[in-house]
């Protein structure tokens, strides 16, 4: 697999072409958070509705590159219906995956092994399902901000929900 194919995996292209959970929720009751990448102009708006300690609904809107948009779509699919604890765990795992240093990715590292990491931080990609498709992004350091844009908005939304409850 070339670097480019590793970055633009079929799952990513699919979520980019046919985004899941696109749109906005009425706010309130939903919490609405805007994410913005001033370097490339990418924008994402995450609407998050939490009921009974679970993500009852989530939608995202905005414009951006295939990585930021597919990451937002994958994120929304991954957290919808999950408990807040599970969502926190997903955020932690995803951010760990995105912070893996380029140098730690051997020629086979990201492609063959199911576990990869920086030594003290191991990411079990089996537990994050389709999100693992975004692993290839860490080989392109300038694109990491695209992938984490919607996740940072989600984390901010969660913080607002938890501060308000």
């Amino acid at each position: 697999m070339t670097d480019l194919e590793d970055l633009y995996r079929e799952i990513i292209l699919d979520h980019y072409r046919s985004p899941r959970n696109r749109g906005e929720l009425e706010s309130p009751p939903a919490v609405r958070v805007e994410g913005f990448n001033p370097l490339c102009g990418d924008e994402v708006v995450v609407s998050l509705l939490v009921e009974d300690g679970r993500v009852a609904d989530i939608k995202f809107a905005g414009a951006g590159c295939s990585i930021s948009q597919s990451s937002a779509s994958l994120m929304s699919s991954a957290v919808k219906g999950k408990s807040l604890d599970e969502v926190h765990e997903l955020i932690r795992t995803f951010k760990a995956m995105m912070s893996i240093h380029e140098a730690s990715l051997g020629a086979e590292g990201a492609e063959g092994a199911e576990e990869t990491g920086t030594g003290d931080l191991l990411v079990d990609v089996r537990r994050i399902g389709e999100l693992a498709a975004l692993q290839g992004v860490v080989k392109f350091p300038v694109r990491i901000k695209c992938a984490t844009l919607s996740w940072n908005a989600l984390a901010q939304g969660l913080a607002e929900v938890e501060a308000g409850s």
């Binding site: 070339t2 633009y8 102009g41 990418d42 295939s66 990585i67 948009q69």
Partner: protein, 416 residues
Amino acid sequence: MTPGTTTPLDVETLRKDFPLLARTVHGRPLVYLDTASSSLQPRPVLSAMEQYYETCHANVHRGVYTTAEEATARYEGARVSVGRFVGARDPGREIVFVKNATEALNLVVRSWGAANLKPGDAVLLTEMEHHANLVPWLMLAERSGIELRYLHLDDDGRLDLGDLERSLDGVKVVSLSAMSNVLGTIPPLREIVEAAHAAGALVVADGAQAVPHFPFDVQELGVDFLAFSAHKMHGPTGIGALWARADLLDSMPPFLGGGGMIFDVRLDRFVPAEPPHRFEAGTPPIAEAVGFAAAVDYMESLGMARVRAHEAQLTEYAIGAIAERLGDGCRLFGPPAGPDRGGVLSLALRDVHPHDVAQVLDQYGVCVRPGHHCAKPLMRVLGVTATARASIGPYNDERDIDTLIEGLEEAGRLFS
């Protein structure tokens, strides 16, 4: 012999002057199409700076020893070379070395602008300005109550000058790009200067894109200030220049304070030095000035008219080839090829975000810039958040454009 437009630029030969063009990326030769961001440096520029450090580096305007005098002579000599390159009447006095064109524009706003603009005075800018020619004025407007006005663009990306005279009413200064870094638009500067001067306004030209790409003569064009950067014209980063008419520089208060810019200092007051040193606080970028001078010597050896002729021809080729091979799948911004169009090709590929376009192009060794190009208000006018921008330098040829198009076709396939 003065190089004219009679013999075309020998691109094949001049490419050998640029060591970075010998590099490969992802197994392919580097295709550098990001000169509008920063240009590549030819060997004479690199060796001039190395030779300076190896033979005579010392601080300038301080020591009395031989190498210090030599360093000062090289630095002041560079000022004269850079001034002559843009047609300064008194090059040793009218060129201020700054960090880059951005700092030159900030100097004009903070020194001349703050001292001369009163609440209610108007400044005329355009919609196509780089943030460097917008934000300093916005910062001044925040605290001084001046009014900022904008010339709009027509559908082709040219400045709409139909209302110029009315727009100039009450304007004290017009500040505009002499070539857009997004659209390649080259506005009719001479015409704008005449109208501005008739209305009693001065003209600041942001020459960051213009000075590197066509003959630029401040006296012929009649501008009052000109800002430009060395690294966009094959010189080093870290240095640029402000050219201003001597009488204007004489009237302006200092910008940054420190060593080198004073005549006398007491504990309760200071007397600033004469221009240009009044505006050069602290140890200046000396080796970079030497490199800057080598860059203008290099460009003079190419001949600016020949550089322009080559880049205009290549721009026309690129616009035609992109339209022919990508058709409706690719939208190109800016005026059609012609005398008022520079070698900047901002494009939007259907269904593919500029970031992704640039990523795919990188696999072909092609360097382009995705993003808003520090012109967010212009992006809003164009109705996009970003574009992918390919920009041309004297070392580019038709093969570079063909590789660009090959990569664009692949990006279109990948995301279709």
